[in-house]
């Protein structure tokens, strides 16, 4: 038998841990049709049942403020999953129940998975599960997802719900509001829509535009009547109608918590102390700067070491390769494909993977939201709020997942600005170029200065973008959940999905482009391209002529610039073919001149053709401009 289960709940309550526990490796991550919102789907085989599991986006309510909310409620109402599992954070019951109450209004058979019971206990909370079950009138299953506790019970309870008749619970609002709801429900008697009538009635009273539109099409009279009732409520309570309904729900949630939870006093926990220090006006910033610097230091020293070994062992394949394909044009072209593959592997394994795992640990533990808190003021200067710091950090690994990471921004405009500044962030590949060229031959201080210059450029261009795109910035309203031990498996999975973005989008493009460059090489076309580019490379940027083709090579992957530079300069000792100024100019241009081809593909996916091309062209012109200025200013 086939059943569908939907997982719904707030953000950061361990929904994805439960999803992973349930589905294991049978997962499919894609997008909701036509939307840039992630859709995670998986399958669980249990005795005679094939259970499809959908992980809905983490949200706080159904008020259509965001795309995620709209998708979630439409999915539950229209696709009618057999069971909805509402994942609830036991340590933060009141806010979570606010969403539970709204889920109940959608009328699907439901289970409450009370997650993070271990943390709730540590917090001194004692939750009366039986009582909670009685009040909510749905099964409540205590779960510790990170340890796998309660997962089996969830599945059994879900199957029970499907096999036995489910009685729809109804949670009553306060008397005055409940009366108005009942009156509106009466007018809806003949309406047949995907949504339950009680849900429609409440949404009409709240003034939900989408539902109003739906009813308007069927019977405009109902909307008029509902408006009258809504006015009445507003008159009595003296607040905006949606605020009144929200208050009402929170009142119910608060009463449930009072009834079902007893608090024992407990001593100040380490996590609270740590929270205090990491958000402190002085120590917080100090810890942030130190942890970011050590993150980079560890990743790039470790990465460099590991990458060298990897490159060496892969290059050693060349003789075997030649044996197989012989020596000649075909083998040379085939090796071009291999070089692309090697370039991809030697950037993913040593740099991007460890970077994303450590970043994932920081994210899952809760530290990144503290950085977002500290950075909010600065991010506001470029029209973004603190949360935009997270995709920016991802950008230092690879720009592709960073662009997709900008989805956490609330509005289109902010997503665009965030994506734009993200493409200016030097990714791991650029860092290898900067360290391998400027860091090695000119000095680490100069390499470091390039990063500072980059941050200044990000700031200035971000500020200009903020002024160019009209609109008010959205303010930060962010929950900071308690610090917790990161869950390794979830972190590893998250890192894998981010890298998968890179592999699927970038790998084929890298390989294709490496092949094309080899073709140019073999056919001697590269020389004529170099000559064509001379006015820019030699006259304006002051670089040697052979740098032309290397900059083109950077379009697929920026770290290729170094490899091609070595090939065309005829040596890996760059000190003999470039002057220090040339190295700095070359690195600066590489850093800024184009979001690599994989990033362009990601840009097209996220913001469309036109804007993607605009950003690309702008950055090429801008990089050449800055490079030329640097060449004229620098004297070393």
């Amino acid at each position: 038998m086939k059943i569908t289960i939907a997982l719904a709940g707030n953000a950061n309550v361990g929904k994805s841990v439960i999803f992973n526990r349930l589905t294991g490796l049978h997962q499919h991550i894609g997008n909701w049709p036509g939307k840039t919102v992630e859709r995670a789907e998986g399958t669980l085989f249990h005795v005679d049942y094939t259970i499809d599991i959908i992980d809905l986006p983490g949200i706080y309510s159904f008020s259509t403020f965001s795309m995620e909310e709209l998708i979630s409620r439409e999915y539950i109402a229209k696709e009618k999953p057999d069971v909805v599992i509402n994942v609830v954070d036991a340590t933060n019951l009141e806010r979570n129940l606010y969403f539970t109450l709204q889920l109940l209004e959608l009328g699907r058979p439901m289970i409450v998975a009370l997650n993070q019971m271990d943390l709730a206990e540590k917090k001194g909370m004692c939750i009366n599960i039986k009582k909670l079950q009685e009040v909510l009138k749905v099964p409540v299953v205590p779960v510790i997802a990170t340890q796998g506790k309660g997962i089996h019970e969830l599945v059994h309870t879900a199957i029970d719900l499907v096999e036995n008749n489910y009685k729809k619970p109804e949670i009553k609002y306060g008397k005055e509001i409940e009366n108005e709801i009942q009156k509106v429900v009466k007018t809806l008697k003949k309406i047949k829509l995907d949504y339950p009538q009680r849900f429609l009635a409440i949404k009409l009273l709240e003034g939900d535009e989408e539902i109003k539109r739906l009813i308007q099409e069927v019977d405009p009279n109902i909307v008029k009547i509902a408006e009258k009732h809504a006015k009445k409520i507003e008159c009595v309570h003296g607040h905006n109608r949606s605020t009144i309904i929200a208050s009402e729900r929170y009142k119910i949630a608060n009463e449930i918590v009072k009834d079902c939870v007893s608090l024992k006093p407990c001593k100040v926990r380490f996590s609270d102390k740590f929270h205090e220090i990491t958000t402190h006006g002085f120590w917080g910033y100090l810890i942030m700067i130190l942890s970011v610097i050590s993150l980079f230091y560890v990743i790039f020293t470790f990465g460099n070491f590991f990458s060298d070994i990897l490159v060496e062992s892969l290059i050693n394949l060349k003789p075997i390769f030649d044996q197989y394909f012989g020596v000649g044009i075909v083998s040379s072209l085939a090796w071009g494909v291999m070089e692309g593959l090697i370039a991809g592997i030697t950037i993913v394994l040593p740099y991007i993977l460890p970077f994303y795992i450590i970043l994932g640990l920081l994210e899952d533990s809760g530290y990144l939201s503290r950085i977002a808190f500290l950075m909010d003021r600065f991010m506001h200067k470029i029209g973004l709020h603190g949360k935009a710091f997270i995709p920016l950090m991802l950008g230092y690994g690879c720009n592709v997942p960073a662009c997709l990471g900008c989805r956490i921004m609330e509005t289109k405009r902010e997503r665009l600005i965030a994506i734009f500044v993200t493409t200016l962030i030097p990714c791991a590949a650029v860092t290898t170029v900067i360290l391998g060229l400027v860091g090695k031959y000119v000095g680490l201080d100069w390499a470091f200065s390039l990063y500072i210059v980059n941050l200044m450029i990000v700031f200035i261009l971000g500020r200009i973008a903020f002024k160019v795109f009209p609109g008010e910035p959205t303010e930060l309203i962010m929950e900071m959940h308690d610090y917790r031990m990161p869950h390794l498996k979830t972190v590893a999975k998250q890192a894998w999905f981010r890298i998968k973005d890179f592999i699927y989008i970038a790998f084929p493009l890298i390989i294709a482009c490496s092949f094309i460059i080899k073709v140019l090489d073999v056919t001697n076309l590269s020389e004529s391209i170099e000559n064509l580019m001379k006015p820019i490379t030699v006259d304006w940027l002051g670089l040697p002529a052979f740098s032309g083709i290397t900059l083109i090579a950077g379009i697929p992957r920026k770290e290729l610039t170094l490899i091609i530079l070595a090939a065309h300069g005829g040596t890996t000792n760059f000190g003999t073919i470039l002057t220090p100024v040339q190295m700095i100019v070359f690195s600066l241009v590489t850093m800024l001149y184009i979001p690599c081809i994989a990033t362009i593909a990601a840009l097209i996916k996220e913001i469309g053709w036109k804007k993607a091309i605009f950003i690309t062209v702008f950055e090429i012109v801008f990089a050449i401009f800055v490079g030329g200025i640097a060449f004229r200013l620098l004297t070393l």
Binding site: A246, G281, E479, M480
Partner: protein
């Protein structure tokens, strides 16, 4: 409790208050009420340095709120 309403941003670190109302558009109001900042809710200012945002504790959890929003939330100070 004082009868005067002031903006949340004017409270000092450690002070407690009660939400009276939220000024501003439907979007902001909805987001704040969804996070539990409904009229009549008690909260405490946990952190407010020279720099924004403000951290408040409300309904048993911690919220970071940008200064722009914090200026639009009207509250009563609880002594």
């Amino acid at each position: 409790m004082s009868e005067k309403t002031i903006a949340l941003i004017n409270l000092k670190e450690g002070q407690r208050g009660i939400i009276v109302s939220v000024l501003g558009g439907r979007g902001v109001t909805q987001r704040l009420t969804d996070m539990g900042l409904t009229p009549g809710t008690e909260f405490k200012i946990v952190r407010k340095g020279r720099l924004c945002p403000v951290e408040i504790s409300v309904r048993g959890s911690k919220l970071a709120i940008g200064c722009g929003v914090a200026a639009k939330i009207l509250v009563k100070v609880k002594e």
